[in-house]
């Protein structure tokens, strides 16, 4: 499953930490670098493609819940 933004960012941060602190072989360092670049690309993509999704939460009669798309109505109250 593809990472969400927060996971991707956290992983990218961890990778930078590793690259900065661990004694990696050159090959491993380059692999880590490339993985980091992939993640940073993913983060940026997530930020740019995202659309806020608004739903309404409804309690059903049997005590369960369901959601339905929510259109923001015009304002008429505080």
């Amino acid at each position: 499953m593809e990472l969400n933004f927060e996971e991707a960012l956290a992983k990218l941060e961890a990778i930078v930490e590793t690259l900065e602190s661990a004694e990696l072989t050159l090959d491993a360092a380059l692999e880590t670098f490339e993985e980091g670049i992939q993640l940073s690309r993913l983060c940026t993509k997530k930020l740019e493609e995202a659309e806020i999704r608004v739903q309404k939460l409804l309690a059903t009669e049997d005590g369960d819940f369901e959601t339905e798309p929510f259109e923001v109505p015009s304002v008429d109250q505080g």
């Binding site: 969400n4 933004f5 927060e6 960012l9 990218l12 941060e13 990778i15 930078v16 690259l19 900065e20 990696l24 050159l26 090959d27 360092a29 380059l30 670098f33 490339e34 980091g36 670049i37 940073s40 690309r41 983060c43 940026t44 997530k46 930020l47 740019e48 995202a50 659309e51 806020i52 999704r53 608004v54 739903q55 309404k56 939460l57 309690a59 819940f65 959601t67 929510f70 923001v72 109505p73 015009s74 304002v75 008429d76 109250q77 505080g78």
Partner: protein
């Protein structure tokens, strides 16, 4: 003897009840007075005496009406009560059956609020120790507010602008008037049962103290306290705090402010990603640099012949790694470029063009710097390496032999440096650039002249 009509106690009480019930003005009456002898037994009905300087009257407020009270009455409170006059037959007392009670003036409401606040504080509902931290980047945000209020629109606008990578779940509730508080509390409970959001915003836009009152009610305060999900209170009232504000994990002065608190700003996140990119690149370069230094160091230790081969190999590896790095950094930089092109179309109507151009320029400068830096390092490194190789060539014994010198070895294979190391008649080995000779010593000349016989 006159005729006497005898009533039973119940009959006469019934008659009195009927008489009282037949007076229209007593069905529907508002009375002002001060509360005394207030009692609230476990049945939930409220009993109190309403009095003024000269008189007093008993009152009952049954539980089904009492739950709608905006405040918990208290002895000494000045109130208006509404209801009808009735008789409590068992005690032979008339009393008022109260269906509405209002505080006479904000003072009473304020006092009731202060009392409730003090008691909740004493219980620890406001303690810092109970405050839950907000998630750094929430995925799903629950919003408990009016579906039609400006508060919801403000929240959605800000979220859309700052950080659109989220789902928002709206739970529409009444936010003022009777019944608002139970709905707000119920929504918070439902979110906790459903438990699929990372954080809750509970609030409404600004209004009078009466409008905001549901957020001062105990049931709302307790539902916020009981929530496992962190709660941001967002009651649009900058000056006074509601009880919801005291109990909430974070208090925002307005719904807009809550939205700003709950998500990071996406331009900050873009900056953060760029910074991480730069750190990645810098540390990869540093790592390559260290490898080079190490090769040069090893160079001086290793056997000359092996060294030549190793260095060539390592150099090749290094070149390949550097090329890979170069490619990766170029890709990264061109992605930056594309990202900016994308952002431009997205941002054109919300962001000043000049800011975008600045960012664009910055990215290009960054890209140029990176590429320039890598190319520069590669060429420095290559010339360093060539210099080392030239030096090594000069030092190699093979190089010396190529120039016409020979090496003379004794029977143990040790090089001979002085004539007095050999005896007449001894057989020596002479190594040439190509092949070697076995020679017989027939004369020794000390330091000056020398001769060998084949």
């Amino acid at each position: 003897m006159s005729f006497r009509t005898i009533y039973t106690v119940s009959d006469i009480t019934d008659s009195i009840t009927e008489i009282l019930a037949s007076v229209p003005g007593l069905h529907d009456v508002w009375i002002q007075g001060e509360i005394s002898n207030f009692r609230r037994p476990s049945s939930g009905h409220l009993y109190l005496t309403l009095k003024d300087a000269a008189s007093q009257i008993s009152c009952v407020m049954f539980r089904n009406r009492a739950t709608h009270l905006r405040f918990l009455p208290h002895d000494g409170d000045s109130v208006f009560v509404h209801g009808y006059i009735s008789v409590y037959k068992k005690a032979g007392q008339y009393q008022i059956i109260v269906d509405k009670m209002e505080a006479a003036g904000v003072g009473v409401l304020q006092q009731a609020f202060e009392r409730l606040k003090a008691s909740l504080a004493a219980e620890g509902l406001f303690d810092e120790a109970h405050k839950r931290p907000l998630p750094r980047i929430p995925r799903r945000i629950g919003v408990v507010t009016s579906a039609t209020g400006a508060a919801l629109r403000d929240i959605l606008n800000i979220l859309h602008r700052r950080f659109p990578c989220i789902d928002v779940l709206v739970y529409p509730v009444l936010v003022q008037g009777d019944g608002a508080a139970p709905q707000i509390a119920g929504a918070i409970r439902d979110f906790n049962r459903w438990s699929n959001v990372d954080v809750l915003i509970v609030g409404r836009g600004g209004g009078s103290i009466e409008d905001l009152w549901p957020f001062n009610e105990e049931i709302v305060a307790r539902s916020i306290f009981a929530s496992h999900i962190p709660v941001i209170s967002a009651v649009g009232h900058e000056i006074d705090f509601t009880l919801a504000d005291y109990v909430a994990d974070v208090r925002a002065p307005t719904p807009s402010a809550a939205a700003e608190l709950v998500v990071p700003d996406q331009s900050e996140l873009h900056r953060r990603i760029r910074e991480l990119d730069q750190r990645l690149t810098m540390h990869l370069m540093r790592r390559i640099e260290r490898a080079r230094t190490r090769i040069i160091h090893l160079n001086q230790k290793l056997d000359v012949h092996r060294k030549l081969g190793d260095i060539q190999q390592m150099q090749q590896t290094l070149d390949m790694l550097a090329m890979r790095a170069h490619r990766a950094i170029r890709a990264c930089a061109s992605r930056e470029h594309q990202r900016l092109l994308l952002s431009r179309t997205r941002l054109e109507h919300v962001s000043p063009l000049s800011q975008l151009q600045e960012a664009h320029k910055y990215a290009r400068r960054l890209q140029e710097q990176l590429v320039h830096r890598i190319l520069q390092r590669l060429s420095e490194e290559r010339s360093k390496m060539e210099k080392v190789l030239l030096q090594l060539d000069g030092l190699s014994p093979l190089g010396i032999l190529e120039r016409g010198y020979s090496i003379c070895l004794d029977s143990n294979g040790k090089p001979i440096l002085h004539a007095d190391q050999v005896d007449l008649g001894e057989i020596l080995q002479i190594r040439l650039a190509r092949g070697q000779l076995s020679c017989h010593v027939f004369q020794i000349h000390g330091d000056e002249k020398h001769g060998v016989e084949l």
